[in-house]
Symmetry: C2
Subunit: 697 residues, 2 copies
């Protein structure tokens, strides 16, 4: 019997039996053979009491029933009132009178929950709302998957961030922009997909990590997708939204700023034009008539050739407020992306610096946006490189709602062919002290809305999933999707904690497996950085598809992503003193640290400075020797990754074992390309021999 046949939610024609464990990701709910543990938890799982009903609570009970059947081969008796002395109780804080007073109901916030073991007999999962119940349910099931003791649970969880969002870059033709896991699960043949089960399973995966919002189409909104907000496609959007709604996830659409022209046959999309304003009001009304809890719009405007308010000599505030006013009556929001820069820059022009663009564009507009506009800011000033400084825009907007944007899709970090676990990178971003209001104003305190007391705030990310049977191309890339949700729910979780959860849920609790996989993941970002572009300089990849080394691929292009390597040195001078002045966008003392060649962290040196190859790093090595060392080391590390994984043969099911192994073998092959091309490039430029006389071509 197929494992996921246990769920009627998960029956999926696309997936063969042998790919079941790949498909189930971290919701394996593997059979628990440990009789002692089973006995221990039996009393909490014999009865399931739900004091209220809603579609979200239904999702929770369904998940529980199926998960418990799968793990324990028994299902709880279901009841609507507290009768039994043992079992599991799901309730919102509204049921206060029926709940033990030891549960601190007043501390449970909007989407938060408590899990409390009462008298060693009953476990209560209490949410402020039904969403909290669902999150608490997934939490409990996680504990069981990890075989945790349930006897003394006293958990209180509130999400740190209000918007915990996923952006799909899916196109209606079924392609996924920057997708590395097959085609879209949402669309097929220029229509919405009829495989709603797949979407439901995606909702389960997301919800289990705490994600509460999703935009379902690419921010580059093409011709057909422009019509998603019309009656042609709204019935389909509604269907998808209702699937996500049952998992506590609000649906958004990316819109085409030129819709009044494309759909409305108007001659302008000028945000100050009353007819345009009227057009949007009516368009929004139609959406909310169909989907009353619709989230709002995400907009990429005046960026990389997308239309926007610039066409009409209006600014981004004019542009965003147009939509905001239309959405306001329905509590909808506009998420306006700050990824705006000149993608037609002249490489000869050393004054223009793409890194400056978002800050330069948006800080002058601080305070000018409607209060249901949220600016979405990429974590770095460039574009999701393996290493970038934190965007200086974060913290610089004091009167504007903002969302931080990560990219789970590994566009620049190996495209889910290389292993690159991104949680440690995102941790660093969230923990980075901006000094926006003096010491201790880390990114996480800004994006959660607390520092500036924003009405709306949060974190979003570009998804890494597609219709591959394992969702993410590289099986281990599932960890990035899981980890994103968990980290933004609680940025104070350590990467190791998140990793441990994911590995145990995904591959079980066998100790060598947990140790090996955790170690592989935790090392992988550093490894990828080692053999790719050095010391924060970024890029050096093939233009267009962005895979594989091409050191000068962007060096003379219009995209603003240069490294200026010459025979004497390498790196970009972004200092105030004699560079592009980008360092001036940071608060002190970050400004001074980045400005100084001596104080600038090694790993970002070439992002901020052009230095001679002989420049000595804090590590004691010269820049050129560091490049050689890390590139040789990176490949050796990939060799060890593959060797480590091979040790798990027989401990991981065959499909996942072989899938990961073949990816690691590909990574090894390609990491050698990176190593040899980068080393050869710098050797030919610098003429400086490797101190250890290793082979450079």
């Amino acid at each position: 019997m197929r494992f996921y046949d246990h769920y009627n939610t998960s029956l999926n024609d696309d997936i063969d039996l042998e790919h079941e464990s790949s498909y189930n990701a971290w919701l394996q709910y593997a059979w628990i053979g440990d009789l002692e543990y089973k006995k221990q938890i039996e009393r909490y799982t014999n009865e399931l009491v739900t004091l209220e009903q809603s579609s979200i609570i239904h999702s929770a009970t369904t998940e529980l029933n199926q998960a418990l059947f799968s793990m324990l081969n028994s299902q709880p008796r279901v009841s609507m009132s507290l009768s039994s002395t043992t079992g599991l109780v799901l309730a919102t804080t509204k049921q206060e009178r029926q709940l033990p007073s030891t549960i601190r109901l007043e501390d449970i916030e909007d989407e938060g929950y408590a899990i409390k073991t009462h008298d060693n007999q009953t476990i209560y999962i209490v949410g402020r709302s039904d969403k909290g119940i669902l999150y608490g349910t997934f939490h409990l099931l996680r504990l069981i998957q990890m075989k945790k003791d349930l006897d003394n649970l006293d958990i209180l969880e509130n999400p740190a961030n209000q918007f915990r969002m996923i952006n799909q870059w899916d196109n209606v033709d079924s392609s996924v922009e920057r997708g590395y896991s097959g085609n879209s699960i949402f669309y097929r043949d220029n229509q919405f997909s009829s495989n709603l089960t797949r979407i439901k399973d995606y909702a389960r995966l997301l919800s289990s990590t705490g994600v509460n919002a999703i935009s379902i189409n690419n921010v580059n909104v093409h011709q057909i997708e422009t019509n998603f907000i019309t009656s042609e496609f709204l019935p389909d959007v509604k269907k998808v939204a209702s699937i996500f709604r049952a998992y506590g996830i609000t649906t958004f659409l990316a819109i085409n700023y030129a819709s009044p022209i494309g759909i409305g046959n108007m001659e302008t999309a000028d945000p100050l034009n009353p007819s345009v304003q009227q057009w949007w009001k009516e368009a929004v009304k139609e959406i909310y008539e169909s989907i009353p809890d619709f989230g709002g719009f995400i907009v990429k405007a005046d960026s990389e050739n997308r239309p926007g308010p610039f066409t009409y000599n209006r600014n981004h505030a004019d542009g965003a407020n147009l939509l905001a006013k239309a959405l306001e009556p329905y509590n909808g929001v506009v998420i306006w992306r700050c990824f705006v820069y000149n993608c037609k820059q002249d490489w000869r022009d050393r004054e223009t610096d793409r890194a400056r663009a978002a800050y330069d564009h948006f800080t002058p507009l601080d305070g000018k946006f409607n209060d249901n506009v949220i600016l979405q800011i990429k974590n770095g000033p460039m574009d999701f490189q393996v290493r970038e400084p934190v965007s200086p825009l974060i913290g610089a907007l004091k009167d504007t709602n903002q969302i931080l944007e990560f990219q789970i899709a590994q566009e620049y970090t190996g495209q889910q062919r290389h292993l690159c676990y991104l949680i440690p990178q995102w941790k660093e971003v969230l923990d980075f002290d901006t000094y926006a209001k003096g010491k201790g104003t880390e990114v996480k305190t800004i994006v959660n809305g607390s520092l500036y007391n924003n009405k709306y705030s949060g974190i979003s990310a570009v998804s890494n999933i597609g219709n591959d049977y394992n969702w993410t191309g590289h099986t281990l890339a599932q960890a990035n999707l899981y980890g994103f949700g968990r980290l933004i729910w609680n940025p104070d979780l350590s990467a190791d904690e998140i990793t441990d959860e994911w590995v145990r849920m995904t591959f079980g609790n066998e100790s060598q497996t947990v140790e090996v996989v955790s170690h592989m993941l935790s090392q992988s970002w550093e490894i990828y950085e080692n053999y790719t572009s050095p010391l924060g300089v970024g890029w050096m990849i093939n233009p267009g598809h962005h895979y594989g080394p091409n050191i000068e691929g962007y060096e003379y292009s219009a995209w603003g992503t240069y490294h200026f390597s010459d025979r004497d040195g390498t790196g970009v001078n972004r200092t105030l003193k004699n560079g592009t002045g980008y360092t001036g966008q940071y608060f002190s003392p970050n400004k001074e640290i980045y400005e100084s060649i001596e104080r600038c962290p090694d790993e970002l040196l070439l992002f901020f400075h052009h230095v001679p190859y002989s420049h000595q790093l804090k590590s004691g090595e010269t820049v050129i020797q560091h490049i050689y060392n890390t590139h040789f080391e990176g490949v050796e590390q990939v060799e060890r990754l593959a060797a480590d994984w091979r040790e798990l043969e027989g401990k991981v099911d065959k499909v996942r074992f072989n899938d990961v192994l073949s990816k690691l073998e590909e990574q090894l092959e390609h990491s050698k390309e990176w190593r040899d091309i980068i080393n050869t490039y710098y050797y030919r430029k610098s003429g400086i021999d490797d101190r250890f006389k290793r082979k450079i071509y």
Copy 2:
């Protein structure tokens, strides 16, 4: 009235009146206003006598009628016998008794002709066959277009080359591989085009230059095209062949070597397998039943991922002979391309040299091919770069038929967006002394079959036309198509003679126009070379589409096209002494000349040698200063090209004037990109300042 309405052959729905002169190319047949000249030639054009009939002679008389009407506004009386005392007589040598004895009939070869003015009253155009009549007719019309004196004509023309062939790289989906002039004129929507008029006009253009063979589909034979040799498409091929036949042009098809698998559902295409042999025999039989004068096959096998005999551990002779034996009963031939190399080479491997590949593959097979196999050899060892040495395979095959391959399509020479007149380049190739049999064995004496007394020989080229209204994208690129035909008819024509003909026929005889356009064309190859890759090193272009500068675009790729530039020097060491040994493929003294840094011609220095930037050229400049100088000069030259052309405003019709001007403006813009990127690249590498302190970035 539309000019080309004069011809019923040329009526073409695709072409608007305003684009008529663009469309007519060099067959303008412009109205002759000069009454004196009209009077002078009147007596030769008042009567047209054809002593024989054939479809080819019909093409000649039709062309004459229409051209004379267009130029003179009168048409000759047509008669079948010599009655009048003045006029034009078309005849083959069979009519010896009716022809003046002053015509040296015995000197007229197979496709040759004589044009003789008799007694200042009659002009005789006499061919050995009707093809000669047609060529002679176009010759006479050319003379009239150029307003030449017709009173004392005594012309004998025999084509130097037997096969004078055009290769279309057209796909049935209407795309053209390396096409820069719109889509295919042959195919639309995966079917043969119904616009046969366009094909007929193409036949007229080709025939007017002496071309006598054409392959009508891409050498990369895709799925649908594989079936061209089956009953599904043969009726269409037959139609096209009959159009070309009337213009003396034999039709060929490019075939898929794996056809027995793709069409025949066999499990193998092994050339030594009797069933495969039988399959080809039957396939060929079917073709000839439909098209009795079908030319044969052109084959790209075991090259750039195309199937071929290597799959079955057979060699190219086995592969070609399989097809040759099937074609033999019908006098068909196999044209087997020598563009065979390892396109998956490791850039780290400095032993492998793509330049060596054709010679290394094919010289061991010399003498092993059936005598109806012709090897088609690209002019250079690489791939149609702006500058390459002549392929050393030319002259090295003593017992094998061969055809030389040029590329009229400007894949690497500006893609018909830049002006690059290729006749001077091809002249250099044809005049190159291979020393294959000692001094005086120029390429032209080998490819015309005379040196080794080949049964078959000739020259082919990849076409540059598409369905653009001017055929060639860049209006002036028409000159390359014209010049190709004229040059291979008679390689002893100078480039200037060909240019003069083309300019006068295309733009008229006004002296400034002739001077300016001729000068622009004659300079353009050098100009393009100046601002692109230097000193014969080639490439440095964007991978894939091959347009625009990308200095290291192929430097670390699998395609074998490197330049190995480092901080000290640049170029490829292909010497016997300590390089790839490629120089050893040439006959002495070329071998020694190329081997020697001192003797190697400047323009090929970096093709054969890796030299320091400070190396002094024969010109007296250092390599680096030469690079800077030529790149600055190249852009200045393009500026002058545009200025020169602007002088012709009002002398050239508006459409062609503006079309060429906009192309020149684009060329100027893009030549600056080339200049700045190449100079910056080499400056960053070498650190050597420009002696003249010009701006390098």
